[in-house]
């Protein structure tokens, strides 16, 4: 049942489209990697819409195949379990993203507003719409219930200041997929100095997220 290959269109840094053909197993691998990265990263990561779309397509195919299959066939149960597992990972991934969007909404929307032309977005178009609606809904509520009844000079509140930012200094566990040389680690306190480390392929580390954030985005490390 799972022998078709799928197209995942990615954008490379020149803004051009590159077609990468993945087997279903590779697609689910990519989903699980995106899921774990999103779970353990303190901030909202880049959107992976193509993976989400392909996984949903894959689930639809599997459902179609199951409907045509013989009832009571053992294969049916096994494939149903596989579908449930995939659906769980996908739902968990999307839930994790929504929770971060709601938690950090002013900062995420500000980042999107000031995003450069070539920079990838952290939000899918649908997540962006959701985030804007969440902001409007909350702002309107606070205004109508409290702010507009307050003295004139206190009727505005700066949500960027009032809502906490993600803590990029929090520590994360990672496994190195691509060897990195001369990674600059900034000191935590003023007494310490900058130092440089190498990350060997396959090694595991506990390190501040901020130091390795770009490596998560590029796929050079996997958060665990």
């Amino acid at each position: 049942m799972m022998t078709e290959e799928l197209d995942v269109s990615g954008q490379d840094s020149d803004g051009g489209s590159e077609e990468v053909v993945l087997t279903p197993a590779e697609l689910i691998d990519r989903l699980e990697q995106a899921w774990m990265n999103e779970k353990f990263a303190p901030e909202l990561l880049e959107t992976k819409s193509e993976i989400v779309e392909c996984v949903i397509e894959q689930l639809d195919h599997m459902e179609e195949n199951l409907r045509r299959a013989k009832k009571g066939d053992l294969k049916v149960s096994i494939h149903q379990m596989e579908m449930e597992r995939i659906r769980y990972v996908l739902s968990s991934y999307l839930r994790c993203r929504l929770m971060k969007i709601e938690k950090f909404f002013p900062h995420i929307l500000e980042k999107e507003k000031t995003r450069g032309e070539g920079e990838p977005s952290s939000l899918s178009p649908e997540e962006f719409a959701f985030a804007k609606e969440y902001m409007t809904n909350t702002e309107t509520y606070l205004k109508n219930v409290a702010l507009k009844h307050m003295p004139p000079n206190l009727q505005k509140v700066d949500l960027l200041k009032a809502v906490p930012k993600p803590d990029l200094d929090s520590y994360v566990f990672l496994r190195v997929k691509e060897r990195q040389e001369n990674l600059l680690v900034e000191p935590e306190t003023d007494e310490q100095r900058d130092y440089v480390i190498d990350l060997e392929e396959g090694s595991q580390h506990l390190i501040r997220y901020k130091t390795i954030a770009p490596l998560v985005a590029s796929g050079a490390v996997q958060l665990i």
């Binding site: 989400v52 779309e53 949903i56 397509e57 689930l59 639809d60 009832k71 149960s77 149903q80 379990m81 449930e84 597992r85 659906r87 769980y88 996908l90 739902s91 968990s92 999307l94 839930r95 929504l98 709601e102 649908e126 997540e127 719409a129 959701f130 609606e133 969440y134 809904n137 909350t138 509520y141 606070l142 109508n144 219930v145 409290a146 702010l147 009844h149 307050m150 003295p151 206190l154 509140v157 009032a162």
Partner: protein, 196 residues
């Protein structure tokens, strides 16, 4: 003591157990807003006195009242925002229809916020592709098995199982049903997962 009422609002939520939503304290909020109005008016007249009457000795009091105003604003907004977060959690816990006991604890405006949130979430889930999108409020736990044993805690009536058959959910009846179909009913308290 200034800002006492505002502190009470914050304390009320701090004391409420994890996720619990106490009744909306309309009175408390109103008193905070009234205190803010009084402080502001006192400050207005003192500022005029200070400017025209040369009463610069009033300035520390003016500053103090301004700090109280800021504190009241911050406490009031924290109270309201924290309640919104609890209400948001209700959508994920209970589904789109809230038990009436909880609805009584919400103000009309909070209900409106909840309705907008529900709608926004539904639009997002529908957009996820496939025919009806993907309901991500399901599948909250990793699946351990396809079918689970459940006991019915209340009379629910007919319940459709996938392959066209249906079961009658009567109080105390036990059934062996697909896990994902039961999830929401378990959360609502209609079914109970029997762990043997």
């Amino acid at each position: 003591m200034l800002c006492e009422k505002a502190m009470e609002l914050v304390r009320e939520l701090h004391r409420a157990a994890e996720g619990r939503l106490p009744a909306f304290n309309e009175d408390g909020l109103r008193q905070v807003l009234e205190e803010m109005k009084a402080l502001y008016e006192q400050n207005q007249s003192d500022v005029n006195e200070a400017k025209s009457g040369g009463r610069s000795d009033l300035i520390p009091t003016i500053r103090f009242r301004h700090c109280s105003l800021l504190r009241n604003q911050r406490c009031a907004l924290a109270y309201l925002y924290d309640r919104l977060l609890r209400i948001r959690a209700l959508r994920w816990e209970y589904g789109s229809v809230l038990p009436s006991a909880l609805r009584f604890h919400m103000s009309a405006e909070e209900m409106e916020w909840f309705n907008h949130y529900k709608k926004s979430l539904a639009t997002y889930m529908r957009s996820l592709g496939g025919e009806e999108g993907l309901d991500i409020t399901q599948d909250m736990k990793p699946p351990k098995s396809l079918y689970i044993e459940v006991r019915c805690l209340q009379d629910y009536g007919e319940f459709d199982v996938d392959d066209g058959t249906s079961v009658l959910l009567k109080k105390n009846s036990q059934h062996f049903l697909p896990r994902w179909k039961c999830e929401q009913l378990i959360r609502q308290g209609v079914l109970e997962h029997v762990l043997s």
